[in-house]
Amino acid sequence: MTTPLISALREQVLDAAAQGRALRPHGSGSKDFLGLHLAGSPLDMRGAQGVIAYEPSELYLTAHAGTRLADIEALLACNGQMLAFEPPHFGAHATLGGALASGLSGPRRIASGSLRDFVLGVTVMDGQGRVLRFGGQVMKNVAGFDVSRLIAGSFGTLCLILDVTLKVLPRPLAQQTHVLALDETAALQRMREWGAQPLPVSATCWHDGLLSVRLSGARPALEAAARLIGGEVLGDAAADAFWQDVREHRHAFFAGAAPLWRIALPPLAPHLPLDGDRLIEWNGMQRWLRSDADADALRHVVSAMGGHSTLFRGGRPFDRELDVFEPLAPEVMAVHRRLKLAFDPSGVFSPGRLYADL
């Protein structure tokens, strides 16, 4: 990021801090729907775009926060690489900074890990206008607290994200998607059995009686696994479109009108005793539910199973006044408040986006 740009950002941050105003850093706005409140003057972080460093043989890429995710993924594809956590874009102009701030991961998360697993370093500006650099471009780095990963999923409430370094991985040599007709309970059972074996399963999705399973790896490994998995093999183009639709919430399931809940559950959680259409990913650990169920009742069911729920899209206005994200235990919330103050002592950044008093 250029010095004038940094100075301009610093000036805005310090002015806001001095005047007790809030700022809301944003990229393309593709994930504005997610979160509790959108408070503060918008601060466009797309002033700096572009890749700063990319070394395919070093498996990392550094880019300005305003860089389009689509541009990054296109560059990686030219070199046979990818963002292995398959971040959902939710818009053609989604940015790298927005991906880090929202911390979301896509279908390959069960095989490769989540966005935070791939964060190697960040440059940020804190609430005192200080430019701070954490982590770096190497895979192993334990000097100081792992602040880079703490920023993942913080929804702009801690600092401005200036640039991000991510680990990148080679694209699989081959992929193949199988579709099996199974009811929900049988599908959950099947996914778990596969997961406990050394099989190259890179994504799973169940909806409306059909379980789709993507295999990724060397061709001989896929052939061996295909015999065990069975089902119908989907054509390559149809398979790519299917997983892209699941990742971007363009799948027909996501078109409904009822509130969309994201529910994260431990691996062996059974069928959710809640009304509503559902789509299951990540071997049963990520479930999407379209439901008008009472928010408190839903949260109660999910937390009793050891999971947590997010009101991802929609919801009645009075539900929105409830927490969008699962409420935290008091002692954990206390640490959150002190961390927020550590980064942002004047409360400038995105107040109320995660929790009302954060």
């Binding site: 043989s57 935070r116 334990v142 607290f145 792992d146 694209r171 001989p220 691996p267 935290l328």
Partner: protein
Amino acid sequence: MQDVCRYDRGPIRLPYEPVHAVSAPDTPTLIAALSRVLPADCLITDSGLLRAYECDGLMLIREQPLAVALPTTEQQVIEVLRTCHALGVPVVPRGAGTGLSGGATPHRQGVVLSTARLNRIVSVDRLAQQAVVQPGVRNLAVSEAAAPHGLYYAPDPSSQIACSIGGNVAENSGGVHCLKYGLTVHNVLRVRMVSMTGEVMEIGSAAPDSPGYDLLAVTVGSEGLLGVVTEVTVKLVPRPRVARCVLAAFGDVRSAGQAVADIIAAGIIPAGLEMMDQGATVAVEDFVHAGYPLDAAAILLCEADGTEEEVQDEIARMRALLDAAGATEVRVSNDEAERLRFWAGRKAAFPAAGRMSPDYYCMDGTIPRRKLADMLEAMNAMSVKYGLRCLNVFHAGDGNLHPLILFDSNDPDSLHRAEAFGVEILELSIALGGTITGEHGVGLEKIDQMCMQFAADELDLFHRVKAAFDPAGLLNPGKAVPTLHRCAEMGRMHVHHGQLPHPDLPRF
């Protein structure tokens, strides 16, 4: 590993001062208070017995604590912390004591809280691919407990026979397989942690993520500065059906370094990718007879794992790349015995160094892979400059260096040269765009180099993060993050954006 601390060669103290200077507590009051919350056999106060705890794996720094607490329950951990908090006494958490950076070096006015007796494996679940363990469980014991289910715990630091999961969480430990399978931070799903004030926090969960900030990310690798972990949920992964290792010899280190880059650039993520220089291969060959080619300037060990089909395919591709990079010899393990023999030499590097020299100093910088050959050549020059031998073993796949500097601590000049040699390696690691520690942690050992790697504002933020978890600053004070005052006094300069203060000076 505790017995190594008893090896009597006289205490050597590097100059350091506890930063949070505390007024000397009234020791009898402290011991009386701890006796009220701990059974007699869980509290050590006898000076002779305390000696077993005066250092961790960094034996150059020794301190005697006022007492060692060995709680057997979480409730005792809570009570010990509350007691010390009320009295303003620093607490140093300790796992198995195998850490190499002095993270568990006692505070002379504090209490060591050992998690060694919290050593129960709570559960191992095959279908969930998770295990719940207490922090004192040894790393290898987790994999052994998971083995009947065809699963294992992936991070495998070289001390895995002795080191404990609690210590692994504190240090974010790696191992030879972390290029493919990740570090501790990628394999720990949840911790239960007690704060200095005795509050219990659940951080992370058995679900794939948790609401709020990713506190688990800052907890892993926090070197005992944020809380004391009492339970850990780890991810287990299916044991690969087959593993095979390729041993490649090179006539010069540059070709070996290039081969590493070529393998990664070809889209292969090996299960292990290690490099040893000639000094290291000769040293271990003498010791374990691994059959290494002794005339090679460097050897690479490349491991493929997965299904039989995957492994065959990957070995063939790696072999072609190694040949093309100029390998003078390439051997593929034919059976498990041969694979283990290939690895035996690599795993014997530390003991081999111990046989060759009264002392050795293991460094832990990480650099971009493409700089490996530059770094090796620079270290060879430093070896001449300081008049000390250096054996080089690298986790080449992720650029993590473990040079072993051989010295004799009975000779003060030799010790001084070893430290200066180490500092120069760390400074060059930063200048090459890397870091001072890849997996061993900062502890006390590298605290001054933190002043070089980070600017004052960044260190200030680390202190703020620490204070968010431990406002009183009583947990493991003086470790991991230097005070700005210390950095100023040391006259150390932050190397910004990989630029040395005097870039024109030759450093190779």
